[in-house]
Amino acid sequence: MSELHWMTANAAAAAIANGEMSPVELVKALLDRIERLDPRLNAFVRVDAEAALKEARATEAEAAQGRLRGALHGVPVGIKDIIDVSGLPTTCHSKIFENNVAARNDAECVARLRAAGAIILGKLSTHEFAIGGPSFDLPWPPARNPWNRDHHPGGSSSGSGCGLAAGFFPMALGTDTGGSVRNPASACAIVGTKPTYGLVSRRGVFPLAFTLDHVGPMTRTVADNALMLGAMVGHDPLDPASVLLPQSYDYMKTLEDGVRGLRIGFVRHFHEADMPADPEVVAGLDRVALTLRSEGASVVDVRLPALQEFAAVNRVLLQSEAWSIHSEWLRNRPGDYGCLARRRLMSGAFMDAGDYVLAGRQRSDMIGEVEAALREADILLCASSMDPACRIDEPEAIERTYMRQARTPFNVTGHPALAMPTGLSSDGLPLSVQFVGRYFDEAHLFRVARAWERAACTDALHPSFAG
């Protein structure tokens, strides 16, 4: 492939394993692209070129001897900057940690990617502490959307979405507490998965809310997402939420099996009644349902609690738990937060213990409702974002549209959920869909997502931004 920057992780891993391409060649091409284009996009907080090239040379030598570390041997990855990478400071994109010391260890998810052969390119922009928004009052500028630099790229894993869409790397790590992997996936026309709660270790990731936090893979294709997740899953006894499951995680095996015979539950009321979506978003969702039906799935309407109820439970849990983490800094250094993060994090001070327990009970009921829907259907289909990404310099529009989404339900319940593109709006901005699966059944999630991707060629969507 002449355009190395659009190469998929699967293709790169295969080319490196076969001796058709050197990891050094790939890393150099990406670093060159980052140097040229990132000053206008701000995907990176820190590029670690020297370490990346050193690792590329090491993996090149190993590949030449036929020794491959794993399925991602020589494939570059970007890391959201709330996730520890040994030798680099974790800033959380905040003045609070602007001068943080280097992390002593890799986060478990980073260690697993490294063990599979991945090469860390650097640390990526995020909304402050994964909760703020696109902010201009932080030590680093906010990431922008490669589809239109005047628009935001979603968040909080903003640099991850931006960098993938810009062709800076084929894989990125994101985190998702209220939709932060799936929002940039929706805004940037990439693929982002929030796995089942407990499937991927969060050790070494700066927490936002313990019972809602997930680490997830972000890529440009479904197959890359499956490959990347497969490298990260597994029990970690030092993450209290980590689950031990005696099953295989080779999501690639069933990826191309199609949807014939599967039952898809379409959650229409999310985007029709709860938060009426932009007509182009609705058209995209209908197109997905129609396509899956034409490929042999049955599609039936299902009902869940209203989005506003999920959102309220999510915010009470999230802001109560986040307050327990940030309260000392908010008391002593409130001016070191950006305005958006400060407001959101201080909300926890105004919730009481009874609210937190009540939210937990309602969460329990909501889990029951989603589980019931997933007894009638193998996969749920619903909206992700109700609108295309708005301009980055319009705080009111951001505040309004960020809440217009259907991602938080599955942080509340812990079910796996994947967001991906349906196409582009008439303004050339990405539109999206979300698929939701049963606990630990990411295999079906990828299978359905791949069927849609194959039918609609969504993996061919790239912005024209500077080639």
Partner: protein
Amino acid sequence: MQTREGIVAVDEKMVEAIARRAGLERALEAFHDDVVAAAISAAKVTERIRQSSGTPPEPFSEPWPPMVVVRR
């Protein structure tokens, strides 16, 4: 604090008292509007979950996820 169809009226004196009890004196002094905005946001969502319970919540039902104890 009261909510009515998404409109929240907050008693600023009560907000300040709660903020002080939480140790947010510095934020009150330097970012008063942010403190009030945080209180309004909290009032909206807590009212929502209190209203959506409908019947009085079962006092013995445990929240999810259950506590997990690990030996480190």
